[in-house]
């Protein structure tokens, strides 16, 4: 009896092993071999979405196998484009959520939008529409969005060159909202074509209302390059009141600069952490002029200069939506 018990126990141990797992390794073979079919077509969770009120919307669809898909939302007034991509057999809140942000500038406005879902190796495109009832609100200190025209505290300077056009313009071409600041002209004797000084006093304070943590602060701006214009430069200057006397002393206090060569046609976003903004002298990196500390809470004035080689003739650019954000660059 004893030996049969031992044998039974031993056999039980031997036959104890096999188990089955309910997942598999590697990509699904169904994606390689299975037929594609739409199980559920494109649908939108919120067709009248107010991003300004904190709403979001997501898109749903389901296929018989995993596919590479691209969802494109296009603002019918602004031309703003948002793209969502994925490789899956289902679109849902986890992979097709839209919070009102933009992939290709300009930014969305309150407008109707076309939605198109295209699938790799599938000829048909699924289409739908939605309405943006309100645009998303970006947290931060807006230096200029030109929606109310020129701030009376700003100090523009425009050379008396040819074909000069420095003005707030209204129309569908704005990066954000409906207005932007156009900068254009030809100056044959100087690099500077025109500029705007934006002092802290224009905002009712001695210094810009910014955090003291330069590592956590980002400066963002939209800069426009017209097609065919290649000679323009936009120089952004940040003057600090190092000694706290309420005035900027040239050469003894810090002035940091961002120089933007206009390379890509259309609106471009420029975002830079404040701590990383360098000191430039004639476009080249140089040693600090003041205490060398990035102190955004001592920022006295921001200047936007539009430059071009005097021998290169007419040039043009535009700016819109200058904003300081904290924690991360602007997500337009």
């Amino acid at each position: 009896m004893k030996k049969y018990l031992i044998l039974s126990a031993a056999l039980s141990l031997v036959f104890w092993g096999c188990k089955k797992e309910n997942t598999f390794d590697g990509p699904s073979l169904n994606d390689m071999y299975g037929d594609f079919a739409i199980v559920h077509g494109l649908d939108i969770s919120n067709r009248d979405v107010d991003f300004g009120a904190g709403q979001t919307t997501y898109f749903t669809a389901e296929f018989t196998k995993n596919v590479n898909w691209q969802l494109t939302i296009t603002g019918l007034s602004s031309g703003a484009v948002k793209q969502l991509n994925g490789f899956s057999n289902v679109l849902n809140v986890s992979n097709a959520l839209w919070n009102g942000t933009t992939t290709h500038l300009p930014m969305f406005r309150a407008e109707d939008c076309a939605v198109a879902l295209s699938i790799a190796n599938v000829a048909d495109t699924l289409r739908d529409t939605l309405t943006v009832a309100g645009t998303r609100i970006n947290n931060g200190f807006v230096l200029a969005d030109f929606e109310s025209g020129m701030n009376p505290g700003w100090v523009p300077f425009i050379q008396s060159g040819a074909n000069m056009n420095f003005a707030v313009q209204t129309g569908s071409g704005a990066a954000q909202g409906s207005r932007f600041y156009n900068m254009a002209g030809a100056v044959s004797w100087d690099w500077l074509i025109g500029m705007i000084d934006m002092p802290a006093s224009a905002y009712g304070s001695a210094h810009m209302p910014l955090t003291s943590n330069a590592a956590n602060l980002y400066f963002n701006s939209m800069i426009y390059k017209p097609a065919g214009v290649t000679n323009g430069l936009v120089l952004l200057q940040f003057r600090e009141d190092d000694n706290g006397d309420g005035a900027f002393s040239e050469g003894t206090e810090d002035m940091y600069s961002i120089q933007v060569s206009l390379m890509t046609d259309g609106w471009n976003q420029v975002s830079q952490r404040y701590e990383d903004i360098p000191t430039l002298v004639n476009g080249s990196a140089a040693g600090a002029l003041g205490n060398g500390l990035h102190e955004p809470d001592k920022l006295l004035k921001v200047s936007v200069l539009f430059l071009a080689n005097p021998s290169s003739g007419y040039s043009q650019s535009a700016i819109d939506y200058l904003i300081f954000t904290e924690d991360a660059p602007l997500q337009p």
Partner: protein
């Protein structure tokens, strides 16, 4: 410099021979070999580019000097002097240090070895598994297989040749416990290039408690790991494996039952590589052995479970490097396309073999072995195996039967699991037991293996059905006084389709490739051998190898090989 050192070593060795004979503290050991191949290639397709006949061979001497400066220490150095046929006046001659070690016993209790070490632990932690197909070759082919194994330090006990240090000792007790054994080894697997490659070590240890001949319990820890700071590369590889094993035995008269179990876990991680995954896997094995020595019967029933992410460099490293190109007739045909390596190449090309532990799963050839490409530790396998052996002194035959019924633990690309079936028969019929002089070596060797991999298709996913049948029959017949006639016919036939996993640098599956084969490799061989004594043989044999590939007709060819082989061990 290398040659100079070898020459000095040789000179020193010879001058010490007389000394050895006088006081027996120095011994010569080693072997000599003469090997010649004459090959002729025949192709179905017209080929005016490839030279059809090639001859090559070599003579070599492995000269080892064992020195015993005292009763508890032995030092051995062995150099290999090799001269390829056609190499005169030093050209084509090579000198290599084949092995060098110091071993001994400290205080009559602790055995140690430094330098070259042959070592193994369990089949899931550190074991050198046999190579595919040719491990089951008959005697006439084994002559060549033995050369491969000897040159690559593959021994019958499945040890890995490592360079490092080992120590073994045991503590014996008077009551309750018979003995506790301790084993340890550390070896260098890879050397730093002082730039981007870190030193890599393999360390392992075993503690085994032997209560009596009826019960034992052990723990093995093995780790293959990079040493940080030995290069500029901050990323370091780590593959710790831990297993616990035990045996419970029961004996009544000649009947003996042993329940053996081993279970463990492994991890692979790359420190300081943020994108690298951490692979964790478990294994479980239980085997019930039955043996009756009086009747010559041994049988076992085994259950195996190895998870897909179980990784053990010491146990999963393969002998054959399937990425290697054949050296003989590397390119054939008027277009000089690459010739696929075959069992003939793996039987005689030393360069197709790997000697060092691989941190990742090496390439394998499903047409030769799709079931156990990484030995017993092949990941993603579970199932049962039944083995029956019959072997008895003076019996007219010996027999070994094996049936594996395995499947995957986890599907690859689908939830449906692949099923694996292996049926294997090894049989020897000893003709000398039926007629003539019973002391003569006269045996018929039969081998058959049928491997099947299956998975049903679903929707548009094609079904998997890959079969490999290996069959051979051989004759070793001693005509007269150590003069043997050897003959053999062998065929490997593979046919079917499988979807093979393509793995990334971390051994994770990221894609699949279609694998379709339909072909066979046939060998016919006839030869003669004279055994001067147990340590010295002279062989000549003629082999016809035919490769037939239905799907790739350019790979259809025949190679006829004449081999002359002399081996002397001393």
């Amino acid at each position: 410099m290398k040659k100079s050192i070898s020459l000095i070593t040789l000179f020193w060795a010879f001058t010490q021979v007389s000394f050895a004979q006088e006081n027996k503290k120095v011994f010569l050991t080693g072997g000599a070999r003469g090997l010649f191949y004459g090959d002729q290639l025949h192709q179905d397709a017209t080929d005016s580019v490839t030279i059809p006949k090639t001859n090559n061979g070599h003579v070599l001497v492995d000269l080892g000097v064992s020195i015993r400066p005292n009763k508890s220490t032995e030092i051995q150095g062995m150099v290999r002097v090799r001269n390829d046929y056609g190499g005169f006046w030093g050209s084509g001659v090579s000198f290599d240090v084949r092995q060098l070690y110091i071993k001994g016993i400290i205080a009559k209790a602790v055995r140690y070895q430094l330098g070259d070490i042959n070592y193994k632990l369990s089949k899931y932690t550190f074991l050198n598994s046999d190579q595919e197909v040719i491990s089951n070759s008959p005697e006439i082919f084994k002559q060549q297989t033995r050369i491969m194994n000897y040159d690559n330090f593959y021994y019958a006990d499945s040890t890995w040749r490592q360079q490092g240090a080992s120590v073994d000792f045991g503590i014996q007790f008077k009551k309750y416990i018979s003995e506790i054994q301790f084993k340890g080894i550390t070896s260098r697997v890879r050397t730093s290039d002082f730039s981007n490659i870190n030193d890599r070590l393999f360390s392992a240890g075993e503690i085994k408690l032997i209560q009596s001949k009826y019960f034992s319990l052990g723990y093995i820890g093995a780790n293959t790991y990079d040493i940080p700071g030995t290069s500029n590369n901050k990323i370091t590889f780590h593959n710790p494996v831990h297993t616990v094993h035990g045996d419970v035995a029961y004996q009544q008269e000649a009947h003996r039952l042993v329940l053996h179990g081993e279970m463990g876990t492994s991890q692979v991680r790359y420190d300081n590589a943020t994108e690298a995954p951490i692979l964790k896997g478990n294994l479980y094995e239980a085997q019930l052995f039955y043996s009756n020595e009086e009747k010559g019967i041994r049988a076992s029933l085994a259950s195996t479970y190895v998870q897909p992410d179980f990784r053990s460099a010491g146990a999963q490293t393969k002998r054959i490097n399937f990425n290697a190109q054949p050296q003989a007739y590397t390119r054939i045909g008027n277009d000089q396309y690459l010739r696929t390596a075959t069992t003939l190449d793996y039987m005689r090309e030393t360069d197709a073999y790997n000697r060092q532990l691989s941190p990742t799963l090496m390439a394998y050839s499903p047409k030769y072995d799709n079931i156990t490409p990484y030995g017993a530790a092949t990941p993603n396998r579970q199932g049962y195996a039944i083995r029956v052996n019959y072997a008895k002194k003076d019996a007219p035959a010996s027999l070994r039967l094996e049936q594996l019924i395995w499947k995957e633990v986890k599907g690859e690309g689908t939830l449906t699991l692949k099923q694996f079936y292996r049926t294997q028969l090894n049989a020897n019929v000893f003709l000398n037991q039926f007629f003539g002089d019973k002391t003569k070596a006269r045996v018929v060797e039969i081998f058959f293996r049928n491997d099947i991999t299956k998975r049903p298709g679903e929707n548009k996913i094609p079904s998997v059905n890959l079969t490999t049948q290996t069959a051979s029959i051989g004759l070793c017949y001693e005509l007269k006084n150590h003069f043997d006639v050897l003959a053999r016919v062998q065929q490997v036939h593979y046919n079917g389709f499988d979807l093979l996993a393509i793995r990334n640098a971390y051994s994770q599956i990221y894609n699949f490739s279609e694998y379709r084969v339909n072909g066979k490799e046939q060998m016919y061989s006839l030869g003669a051998r004279y055994r001067f004594n147990e340590k010295s043989t002279l062989s000549v044999n003629y082999l016809m190898f035919k490769n037939v590939n239905t799907d790739a007709t350019l790979q259809n060819y025949q190679i006829n090989q004449l081999m002359l082989y002399y081996q002397l061990n001393f």
